[in-house]
Amino acid sequence: MQPQSGILDQVLAQRQRVTERLAHVKHVVAVMSGKGGVGKSALTANLAVALGMRGRSVGVLDADIHGPSAAAMLGARGQTVEIGQDGARPAIGVANVSVMSMDLFLDGEDTPVIWKHPGGLASDTYVWRGTLEANVLREFLGDTAWGALDFLLIDMPPGADRFETLMRFIPDLSGGLVITIPSRVSHQVVRRAIQSARMVEAPLLGLVENMAGLTDPESGAIRELYPDGDGEKFAAELAIPYLGSVPFDPRLARDTDAGRPFVLNYSQSPAGEAIQRLARTIEEVVR
């Protein structure tokens, strides 16, 4: 029999590697929103730390290939991906959260993600870039030596298309955690994202309303931030469980940007308590 590349066999082997790797992960949760700028990555980082504070082993996979932020937010920026016999070792962030992100491959804060296009025209990259970036997600899932985890949180990029890709790699995903903010525009985009997720029969854990009010760090009082807030009503309209809301706290943005997830230092603040409540709720809904 003549030798062949066996491309189909290679693709099947790739899928098998993902399945084997995730066999040691109890719950895989995709944190998603159709909209950018809703604080999804900061919430993912704080949620991971809150779960870690509850004694859970947690990993965060940063699926935002062109705007990676998880490593920075979890204090793991500057670490390098290390290749071992068992796979690529993830970075270790605060609260022992394992992190895999494109950020760990890039040399320097300003380095953009640019793919080689040897011999071809740069304008041709649209032909293969989507496939390649789907396979970046596949390598993150299948090649990272996550070890045994209670939770793997996947910080999805804005847009709904990558969620469909994720579902192909992880058919038994625990579910999507949908993040919105109390604005009409966000609601419109999230509505579409949920519709897309339902079209691929993705399980959805529920809706979280982020930036639901503004916390005054001095008094702890919560003021209105957006006029259109009613996450519970919005969740009911969408026929999706409402998992809670998190108010905005300026310290959350400042600390999380600096790689010190807010919930660690301000666990008693309204936003800190809301994040911890959300962590408990997630533990319950995935059970």
Binding site: Q4, S5, Q85, K116, V127
Partner: protein, 146 residues
């Protein structure tokens, strides 16, 4: 896709593949098992990239080859920092006293600290991590506060 030698009426067999002049193109050589006539099919860069973007390898040299972790990302990224290797060797065992000392560090950084000591012990070939090994590592790595 198959090629047939018109003279022999036999299916030509894959022989090898080589990168073409265009960088992204590839010459795939087939040979007739009857008359040894060979032909080359040259792909264009776009076709090669589409297949490579699947993260697969092409050509019979690749058969039974398990790619290194993150091989596709490292192959495809134009600018990147070099990956490091995990120090070889089995996981070192922590003695009770060493573990007590590790647990005295703030919980949120224990994972990072533990990895540093584990890696140091592997590099040095130590099977066990004791307070003495921790002291040695601390001095060597400049971790005066740990």
């Amino acid at each position: 896709m198959k090629f047939v030698c018109n003279d022999c009426q036999r299916v030509m067999e894959f022989r090898d593949n080589t990168p073409g002049q265009g960088g992204g193109s590839m010459a795939i050589r087939y040979i007739c098992p009857g008359c040894n006539r060979s032909i080359s099919m040259v792909t264009n860069p776009g076709e090669t990239q589409v297949v490579r973007s699947l993260g697969v390898t092409i050509g019979h040299e690749a058969i039974a080859h398990t790619p290194e972790p993150m091989a596709m990302i490292r192959e495809a990224l134009a600018e990147q920092k070099p990956a490091a290797s995990v120090p070889a060797g089995p996981d070192p065992v922590w003695t009770e006293t060493a573990l007590r000392r590790l647990n005295a560090a703030p919980g949120f950084v224990q994972g990072m600290i533990r990895r540093l000591y584990d890696d140091y012990a592997r590099q040095k070939g130590y099977a066990e991590i004791t307070p003495a090994v921790m002291n040695e590592a601390r001095d060597a790595l400049g971790m005066s506060e740990m």
